[in-house]
Amino acid sequence: MLSHNVIFGKGKIFHFGPMGVAIISSYGIVITLKSTGSFALAFLVGLVCALLISAVFAWLSVKLEPDALGVITLAMHIAILNIAINWTSLTRGALGIPGVPRLSFFSSNTTLSITMAVVAVLWIIFMLYLDRSSFGRQISALAEHEWYAKSIGISKIKTNFIAFFIYALGITIVTFFSMQYLTILHPNDFMFPAFIFYITCELAGKPGSVLGVSLAIALLVILKEGLRFMPVPTGLTGPLELIIFGVILFVAVWWRRDSVFPNTRSV
């Protein structure tokens, strides 16, 4: 999510297809793992798959207008999901792929949780470093005023490709660990509402802010999980979650309506 924050929050790039990257990376990891049993190879295959599809998205981000990019990345996400559901000989379709092997080091959930927490902290530190680096300044400059940024030598193609490749690395790490935790890969985990949760966290935490988005993620995940324990009928939990998060997203956009897509400064 923090890596998507680099693209959408900082770069103002309308990438609405992060779930599409996640699907390809996940299936690459799981299918390789079940076929070969090698965790390193599975991670590598997942990473390569994520990089390839991210390269396509990066190319589109350079070629298209922002609203067109949003629609096309969304369409590609749904198309990839359709293929994952209908290519039953490879993916088992809507049944998903159960029985994903776990590393022996992650034999207990406690060990896995601690490892994931450490990796998350390291990723936040990496994002903070990136935010303050020349790359962070370049992507901000492109978002603020593309022409001026190009005039001082910032390459939109190079910057966008790096941003999308960072996202590919982040999503591969996430999908690898989530498969280790869940031990089942199901296409329902990659539907559009999952992406809306991303956007809600980024907007609530302030687009582009690493610490803000990290805090928003923590709070909204606690809220999401806490809703399960609320004394409401089981059938109402899902719809209630949709409404609450829809309202949170709307309030976040209204609150940050001047900073989500800031007006270009002019002389």
Partner: protein, 293 residues
Amino acid sequence: MQLLANALIAGSLAALIAGGLSLVYGTLGVFNMALGQMVLFGGYVTWFLHIQMEIPLLVSIFGGAIFGALLSWFTFEVFINPFYKRHRFLPLVTTIALSMILDGLILIIFKSSPKMILKGLKNTVEIFGATISIEQIALIAFTVLILCSFAYVLHSTSIGRKIRAVVQHPQAAMSLGIRSPQLHRLIFIFSGVLASFGGIFIGIDQSLSPVLGFPITIKAYAAIIAGGRGHFWGAIICAYLIALIEQLVVGIPLLPGGNYIPAGYQHSVALFFIIVFLIFKPTGLFCSRLRTA
């Protein structure tokens, strides 16, 4: 012939929804991601009035259309108007929020089980070898009537000229004294009414289900992207074209050995349209680039 009949039915539904949306996108430049849910709400309200309240069908349809207009008005005033003046991409996110809220409300109020506005078996007739129900013929005829009426308004009345002027060049239209903000509101409400009729169409012909919302939105956007921004008739034609191709893709043995493409890929046709047109012809089939000084 059956495939053509199916395409005509599906295309009429898509044309109703895409037509109004093309005007909204053409004038405001705004993507309404809650369109599918607004379509469903129109159908569900009609179902409630006709089945639960036992109100006659025509009155229920009128009630569903009124509700659609009110919902669109509310959507415009709360989720669109305060935001699109600041940046035209903000409503994209606010309407995503609205779509989530409407999805939740549909599940709470109407539950997840499919709902049909007209129950029981339908009376079918055979026309040139294609089997079609009386209700489907009525729906196609109604769609043609609505589109023809709108064609008359758009091309033969002063308000239609104003709409076309705002679609072609909003700033030039305002400089001639056309009140664009009021026209934007009117166009948005009209698109909501058309969307409601689409939902009523689905409820009569098939059944209403909460999962239909997002695919409807995507299909409508495929039609307007392929037709060209703001081109009303382009969106209508492309809606029928997409419906026809969807039927042909799964209805004709295209794979080696006389095999059919799995039906699950049928809805990917709309996605394919979006991807191909945005990459190779972003202005759409019927539009050229806006002339500028």
